[in-house]
């Protein structure tokens, strides 16, 4: 299915390559781009200047997420469905040269007989994939629409419902119905495994709020204190909470950042009170958006990409002028980063899984737009360049480092 066209992109040469060579870091970035009509891999050179495209994979399939297993550097999982067929997961153990289908894709348990209150649900699509803890080789987690949590213990070949929440009456109430969810279905996302403790998990639901487990999913409980909800709704009810994206800082696993329907937040554990750091954004731009990106080595640095969430929620860049905003002090101040981005009349935006950072120095940032453009910065967001155009609507972008 994979094909290689050998196309490259990237205008400048020399500087970064010398820098990479100077520090002896010859790892290269592969971007995993999931779209509404297939998946593409973009292999960067060591300097992140030239990008070789590999794809399309699964042309015409809706790919919600494409993730590389950081534990082996070669296993890819792709969450797929088509307009006609049910959802499944494809798996490659050779970086996409060949694919096989999961033997048992995520599927909810049958409804208990006679229990009308908890009608059986069916997975519409797997939305989110998270590799398990480094010590739990072959464990993966999946979040679905409608909201469900699933786990695989064999590298993504077979999946089973995980934890009580899929059929817990309280959680089912918090999940609401399709009527409460995002336009293409309510979702469970932002599944986070604490790098220090495989039993410590976070997850988020749109809608349904942010939740934590300290017993490897046997129980979960909400983490909602100080989060805003849409005016008129009860903030004590998890149903009305809509976290868009939650990220844990690799350099300080006690710190979480969150882009929410109602602002940007930071949480420093063991505190359970989210701090509103979106109020420090320029009012004309606002604090609504979907992606949340954290720095691989500096827990005070994070990036967001604001979206127009006023009036009817246009879900475009505010005023047609896209920009990334960075904080370097944990959210007290934000700086606009738009050098190289269109100055006006650009009405795309970026979905919650479609912006990410690599682990290199300086940090590379990447995002994919609803209009099918792939953008990158090889210097912390100071300068942006477009490395691919004319792709289908981009749903997810992940950056993996290959040796």
């Amino acid at each position: 299915m994979a094909q290689q066209t050998g196309e490259t992109a990237g205008p400048k040469a020399g500087e970064n390559h010398q820098r990479a060579a100077a520090i002896g870091d010859l790892r290269h970035v592969v971007l995993l781009v999931a779209t509404r009509k297939g998946a593409w891999l973009y292999h960067g050179d060591a300097a992140r200047e030239q990008w070789r495209v590999d794809g399309p994979h699964f042309l015409g399939h809706i790919i919600s997420h494409l993730v590389l297993d950081p534990r082996d550097g070669r296993t890819l999982l792709a969450a797929a469905k088509t307009g006609h067929l049910g959802p499944t997961i494809f798996r490659s153990t050779d970086l996409g040269r060949s694919w096989s289908e999961a033997r048992r894709p995520p599927a909810f348990a049958p409804a208990p007989d006679g229990n009308q209150a908890l009608a059986g649900r069916s997975v519409d699509h797997t939305f989110w994939l998270t590799p398990g803890h480094a010590d739990e080789t072959d464990v993966w987690y999946a979040g679905t629409s409608p909201q469900g949590l699933f786990r695989s213990e064999d590298g993504g070949v077979s999946w089973a419902p995980f934890s009580c929440i899929n059929d817990d009456p309280q959680y089912r109430q918090w999940m609401g119905s399709a009527q409460d969810g995002t336009p293409d279905g309510p979702k469970l996302h932002s599944i986070i495994v604490d790098p220090r403790d495989a039993a410590h998990l976070y997850l988020a639901m749109s809608g349904g709020g942010v939740h934590e487990s300290v017993d490897c999913g046997q129980t979960f409980r909400p983490l909602l204190d100080q989060l805003q909800v849409v005016e008129g709704f009860d903030r004590n009810d998890a149903t009305f909470h809509d976290p868009h994206c939650v990220r844990l800082c690799p350099s300080n696993p006690d710190r979480l950042y969150q882009q929410n329907h109602c602002g940007i937040y930071r949480l420093d554990r063991p505190s359970e009170q989210w701090l509103n750091i979106g109020k420090n954004m320029p009012p004309a731009v606002g604090d609504v958006g979907f992606p949340m990106v954290v720095h691989p080595r500096d827990a005070d640095t994070a990036w967001v990409l604001p979206m127009d969430g006023t009036s009817v929620w246009p879900r475009t860049s505010p005023d047609g002028k896209p920009a990334v905003y960075v904080t370097r002090d944990g959210g007290s101040r934000w700086q606009r980063l738009d050098a190289g981005l269109p100055a006006s009349q650009a009405w795309w935006t970026v979905k919650r899984q479609a912006m990410t950072a690599d682990g290199l120095e300086p940090v590379g940032l990447y995002f994919g737009t609803t209009s099918g453009e792939l953008w990158m910065s090889d210097n912390d967001g100071q300068q942006w360049q477009c490395i691919a155009r004319h792709l289908p609507e981009i749903y997810a972008v992940e950056a993996a480092l290959l040796a």
């Binding site: 088509t82 307009g83 006609h84 067929l85 049910g86 499944t88 289908e101 033997r103 894709p105 599927a107 909810f108 348990a109 049958p110 409804a111 059986g120 649900r121 069916s122 997975v123």
Partner: protein, 85 residues
């Protein structure tokens, strides 16, 4: 019986027409899944509902229930209603 496979499912069967047996739609689909693993779940969800956009016809008549009996010698046609954009 002969089963006609729509293009979206031919990655499982490799052919547009395949053989499967059973006395109900459910049994034929089970047999089809034994021969072509994974194909059933793309058409039938985990609550045993026929997925949207999937239609089954047996000798010209639409089947709406998995339990529907099928007589031997007929032909099952699986149709994908076009959707999306």
């Amino acid at each position: 019986m002969n089963v006609l496979i729509p293009s979206a499912l031919r990655s499982y069967t490799e052919h547009g027409e395949v053989e499967a047996s059973g006395t109900t739609l459910a049994a034929v689909l089970d047999d089809l899944d034994r021969r072509h693993p994974g194909i059933r779940f793309r058409m039938i969800d985990e609550q045993q509902g026929i997925r949207p956009h999937i239609r089954f016809f047996f000798d010209g008549e639409q089947l709406r229930e998995l339990s529907q009996p099928l007589r031997s010698g007929g032909e099952l046609i699986i149709v994908q209603a076009l959707s999306g954009g």
